[in-house]
Symmetry: C2
Subunit: 265 residues, 2 copies
């Protein structure tokens, strides 16, 4: 663990009591002892210097201090890494089958995507619209667990979060609400397809970027037309036809590398 | 399937008889009928126009004709994709645990890596040097199956192959033999670290590029020093600390996108 992701109930308290399950993780798995210091990040992406104050049977208490200059004093693993800037990527991922969507969420979080929203599109093999509330909530918990582990392991300064609700593709433009550049990746030949490099050439690294990735079945022609007329830019990746899970990681990596290389050279 | 990967025994015959297992795949899974045409690729990356000549009980026979201008007349799935050029990427992957290495090989093949060589390094959790011949051969078959499926599904024009032998990290410079640019990705601060963009700036897309990715445990300081003094360039990816499987896909995507964008803009 490079940093500990503080629970959603943390809101800047100077001492914070951690629930049973989390407490066991900290004290038994990571073997953090009373008095030990370690790095934390909250759900807003703020970095905290944490110290294990006391270990009880069912819980433990941490003392929390906002890290100076947004940099933690100590991490349990001191490997240095890139400190930013990071592009602001918002992933709209059409739903794929269980294990695939978990892999996508995991890798997207590691790389530093800000927000992941699940989208129901025409060719989705998994349809969650008529699933029971329990099934949907179990899936949500699994994805949350992937995100938590990825943030803690990767030391990402971005507190990736997943949209509470799955949205329909037709509601995507309203949900995105023109916050910045929006790109959808599609392998078929559409008129006016731009190259990713050209599209990002004049985009500052601070611009929010929506990345729309299809499901296993890709997008229908109608969906492409709809996205295009809604102002989303079609991009053909200069590679082979990728499965959904590879396409997501490829697209996010490509955008991040093109923008960070431009920024920091 | 976008193209059929011809078996290693194919060497340009005008008719080719396919073994039982493969024959069942073509006739029962893909339901290819007598007379039907489809695209093929051989282990050298040559594209073939194939036709199902006859279907027997235990095998089937294909007629094979070299595709004109390296482009197949027909594919079972006609989705167009990027036609090249592709950078020539040679992946040296330090061995990771079973499922992880399969995921890496699968994604690297989809994206279009030319050759994958497994490397035994100091922090490898899986050590295959003292495994039985059978275990090693089962692993090899699993990886071959991943490669085959990926080539067939992605329509990759690159006949990715895996090195027959696992090599030791210390033998890497000899194995690579200065064929082109060699890069290793490492998250710690090494002197003279260059940015990937700078490093590729003057590299033509046809240059062979070796990409060395660590295992779950990364590289030791000695290994980094050894690689550097052997002429391998250290690169710190401008992202978070990635797990080995994400790092491989990220690095390959990054190199491909930087070189193809430069080439085709």
């Amino acid at each position: 663990m490079r940093q500990y992701l503080l629970g959603p109930s943390f809101s800047g308290q100077t001492t914070f009591t951690v629930s049973k399950k989390e407490s066991q993780y900290l004290t038994r798995v990571l073997r953090i002892k009373e008095g030990q210091c370690f790095a934390g990040i909250d759900r807003n992406g703020t970095i905290w210097d944490l110290q294990m104050e006391s270990v009880g049977k069912e819980s433990c208490t941490l003392s929390c201090q906002k890290a100076a200059e947004g940099k933690a004093k100590q991490t349990t693993d001191s490997m240095p890494s890139y400190g930013g800037p990071f592009p602001r990527i918002f992933l709209y991922q059409c739903i794929c089958k269980g294990k695939k969507i978990e892999q996508i969420v995991r890798q997207a979080t590691e790389i530093g995507v800000e927000e992941i929203t699940l989208v129901q599109s025409r060719y989705c093999v998994s349809d969650f619209s008529n699933k029971t509330e329990k099934t949907v909530s179990v899936r949500g918990e699994r994805l949350e667990a992937q995100i938590k582990e990825a943030i803690q392991q990767s030391g990402s300064p971005i507190a990736t979060h997943i949209g509470e609700k799955t949205i329909k593709l037709e509601d995507l433009p309203k949900h995105w609400n023109d916050r910045g550049l929006a790109i959808f990746f599609h392998q078929s030949e559409i008129s006016q397809q731009t190259s990713l490099g050209k599209l990002l050439e004049t985009v500052p690294i601070s611009t929010p970027i929506a990345v729309i990735i299809g499901s296993e079945g890709g997008f229908s022609d109608e969906e492409c037309l709809f996205l295009e007329t809604s102002g989303f830019k079609p991009v053909l990746l200069k590679t082979n036809i990728l499965r959904a899970e590879t396409a997501a990681t490829y697209a996010i990596s490509a955008i991040q590398v093109l923008l960070t290389e431009k920024e920091t050279q």
